[in-house]
Amino acid sequence: MSGAELEGVLETPWSGGVSPFAINSKKLGMWLFIVSDSLTFSALLISYAYVRLFTPDWPRPFEIWPAIAKSSIMTLVLLSSSLTMVLAVAAAYRGQVKRAVWLLIATIACGIAFVVIHATEWVTLIHEGITPWANPINPAVPLFGGAFFGLTGLHMLHVTLGVIYLAVICWGFNKGKWTAEHVEVSGLYWHFVDLVWMFIFPMLYLLSVNPK
């Protein structure tokens, strides 16, 4: 192979000389994490869909008011937090540090609001006797509590960790310690958390609306 040919090969994306995906390693790492985490949630949701479909007397405790209304507000809050997050990333890349920081703070506030509303929802259900192991509506189907608290609990853990992650990134970006790329990578995680809720909300809440 001549020198010119060799140079041509080394300049291709797969030579290692340049990034094949035109993204940095942090972002690629986050994408791979998202792939693996999406499989975790998929396994749980597919299992849940199976037990939900093939259990005719599955408990349906959620009234339009207050449970569905509350969870709809939670969805609105999470979707709005995704909008503020994507705008924060755009502002960070434009070099508008102050705007990006305020948008990140808005995202964090939405995340905290989501966790607080969700916690009140949990407390209400627990007071009604619904636990991960039992439910008074149909004691023959204890899986209802396990599926509900398992899926929403794992999601809430992701939201809580996301709020902490965003707070650290927000602080670091404001100090000039971290770059717009860090904000974008944290944004990928946050949007993923939002995406998972887009499946949990209809599958868990809307499929368990009281039929009366």
Binding site: W31, I46, Y93, Q96, G176, L188, P202, L207
Partner: protein, 107 residues
């Protein structure tokens, strides 16, 4: 190194207007899901419609909010097909086995 120096290799794609339109669409689709729940649609039809709408919503989030639409095709090809393949494999493995258990003859 701060943000301004990264602009060239960053993501200037997508405007506030575009993201706001995507957000409105996501809200409208969520409203449709809540309407279906309010109408108490039959469970098998309901789960099909809800999963379909959720897939559209997740595609919007991945394409615009997660910027995958603006990335190189190579990234899309390593992220999306592999995930879809694994999820399909899960569905192929979970459902027939589970259905087989429920249809075992009663002893």
């Amino acid at each position: 190194m701060h943000a301004s120096t990264e602009l060239e290799r960053g993501h200037p794609e997508g405007s506030t207007k575009l993201f706001s339109i995507v957000w409105v669409w996501l809200l409208l689709l969520t409203g449709l899901e809540i309407f279906l729940a309010y109408e108490r649609v039959e469970v098998h039809l309901m789960i099909t419609l809800l999963v379909g709408i959720s897939l559209i919503k997740s595609a919007l989030i991945i394409a615009y909010f997660m910027h995958l639409r603006f990335e190189k095709l190579g990234l899309f090809l390593i992220v999306v097909p592999s995930t879809v393949f694994c999820i399909c494999m899960m569905m192929i493995m979970f459902f027939p086995d589970s259905l087989r258990l429920t249809h075992l003859p009663q002893l």
